[in-house]
């Protein structure tokens, strides 16, 4: 079927102007075709003998369907008429092909072609619209009983499946911004009274519902720590008031939201064999006065600090689209506060402290953090943070970086694990060390170097 116009996709063969065996010349009209617009005589582009007419008059076929086979002029092949029921051929041969076509198409028996085509696509029979609908509404087509012809899944089937599912709880009417803000501030929208049009919850309503004064949505100035527990609070009243806890919660929310929004994190993890470190630690503790005992945390912190010296790309800040290396290694130590909340004060020059010194500093720092006695430099000068959730029983910490720092090191619980050691199975104390790093500042290879360094340093505890 020739293309007879820009908008023609198919045509109906009305009449053959030539018969099988007739001699035709290039340019001769050979057939009459009806298109949506008009009736047109089709000319042929080859000279030869009309061997075979493939399409019966009255049949509508797509553009590109061969209509007839023209053979060389001298050859007079036996000819056959088109099959009674014409069927579109998938061939893209131009009309009046000069070569014999693939075997003449069989008449299509059985169901209508459209249905049989649908059947071929997969064992679930459903149209694209229905498939799309099912996918969109999370309905498993395979689980549906199709009520359409031939077991076809219909739109109604999918919609019924959707309706059958438990109705979700009513959606709160809230502005998009209020919804976002509620998520950031940890406010349950369902508990907020809306004052907008038709009682819609708006940003101001969410802020009112959030405890304490409105949290700033703008991030804290770069370089400044987010949290500074009030130093005036006496140690005896260490349990912070609800207000303070809420304020701290909001501040953390703001900071962490900013961190997660602005910092493209990447995460690395490795298991570190602590056998040598723990042996050394027990030996040390056995020989030391009780007040000078060390915790595994001290070794981990020291290793983290020394590794940061080796991989300075992770020790510093990302400010104004570039990395600034920290001056000295000041480990931010994540300290969870009683009554909730978190601070990460700095252990200054952690890489230079001997282990007993480091242990004392750690004790001191944690005690002051928990009693609100931190010094200004401690809250603002950490260059890399370490969080140790081993006490809480977890094995792996995938932390959020404390902006503008570029890395956060996590340690989990020291656990005894079966390990292959020198070809034998042994039980060893193992800790999972993780690194969350800012992909703007470094790439995975740098992070890998860091974790490898931590692991190596912990194998030689006496050198820490």
């Amino acid at each position: 079927m020739p293309s007879l116009g820009a908008d023609m996709d198919e045509g109906t063969l009305l009449e053959w102007l030539v018969g099988p065996g007739d001699l035709v010349h290039k340019g001769d009209p050979v057939a009459v075709v009806e298109t949506a617009k008009s009736t047109i005589e089709v000319e042929c582009f080859a000279t030869g003998t009309m061997n075979e007419l493939l399409v019966e008059p009255g049949t509508t076929v797509p553009v590109g369907t061969p209509l007839a086979v023209i053979g060389p002029a001298e050859e007079r092949r036996p000819v056959s008429r088109a099959p009674k029921k014409g069927k579109p051929s998938a061939s893209t041969e131009p009309s009046a092909s000069t070569e014999p076509p693939s075997p003449p198409p069989e008449p299509a028996p059985g169901p209508a072609p459209a249905l049989s085509a649908a059947r071929q696509r997969g064992h679930i029979e459903a149209g694209p619209l229905v498939r799309h609908l099912a996918e969109h509404s999370g309905v498993d087509l395979e689980a549906l009983h199709g009520t359409g012809p031939g077991g076809r899944v219909t739109r109604t089937d999918v919609e019924a499946a959707v309706a059958a599912r438990a109705a979700p709880r009513p959606r709160v009417r809230a502005s998009p911004f209020a919804r976002r803000l509620a998520a950031e501030l940890g406010v349950d929208l369902a508990t907020v009274t809306g004052t907008g049009r038709e009682s819609a919850v708006r940003a101001a309503d969410v802020r009112r519902a959030a405890p304490g004064p409105a949290a700033p949505t703008a991030p804290a100035p770069t370089g400044a720590a987010p949290v500074r527990p009030s130093p005036q609070r006496p140690p005896a009243a260490a349990r912070p008031s609800e207000d303070r806890a809420a304020a701290m919660r909001r501040a953390i929310a703001g900071l962490m939201t900013r961190a997660n929004r602005d910092i493209p994190h990447y995460y690395l993890s490795t298991s570190v064999d602590l056998a040598a470190a723990m042996d050394w630690l027990h030996e040390h503790n056995r020989q030391s006065p009780v007040g000078e005992r060390l915790l595994p945390a001290a070794l981990l912190l020291k290793a983290a600090a020394l590794a940061a010296r080796e991989v300075p790309e992770l020790n510093g800040f990302w400010i104004d689209d570039h990395f600034t290396a920290g001056e000295g290694i000041h480990l931010g130590v994540a300290v969870s506060l009683r009554g909730g909340g978190l601070v990460a004060p700095a252990l200054h020059h952690a890489d230079t402290l001997a282990l007993p010194q480091l242990m004392n500093s750690l004790k001191d720092l944690v005690a002051r953090a928990r009693t609100g006695m931190l010094r200004g430099t401690e809250v603002s000068e950490a260059t890399i943070t370490v969080t140790n959730l081993g006490d809480q029983g977890v094995e792996t910490v995938l932390g959020v970086i404390h902006p503008p720092q570029v890395a956060l090191v996590g340690f989990g619980r020291v656990v005894d694990r079966p390990c292959a050691v020198d070809g034998l199975l042994g039980v060893r104390p193992v800790v999972t060390a993780t690194l969350s790093a800012d992909h703007r500042a470094t790439d995975g290879a740098v992070g890998a170097r860091y974790l490898t360094a931590v692991s190596r340093l912990l194998q030689n505890p006496e050198q820490l």
């Binding site: 009243a237 009780v290 007040g291 915790l295 969870s336 750690l362 004790k363």
Partner: protein, 73 residues
């Protein structure tokens, strides 16, 4: 003595409410640093040197009392 040691380490903790068989480390959410301090205080007050390995046995008030009783002779 055990209660007092805990109070020294965790000034705000409600030690009176602790039962003799409560796992106080968990109830009071003591971390390793807190526990180390507790061991330190207890050791100092009781005059008993508590080794690392032994400290793991100090999980409840009664267990701690038993331990001290066994070692103060």
């Amino acid at each position: 003595m055990v209660r007092e040691s805990i109070s020294r380490v965790l000034p705000g903790a409600d030690v009176a409410a602790l039962g003799p068989d409560d796992a106080f480390r968990d109830v009071l959410e003591m971390d390793s640093l807190d526990f180390l301090s507790f061991v330190e205080v207890l050791s100092e007050r009781s005059g008993v040197r508590i080794e690392d390995e032994d400290s793991r046995r100090l999980t409840t008030l009664s267990a701690a009392a038993d331990f001290l009783a066994a070692h103060t002779r």
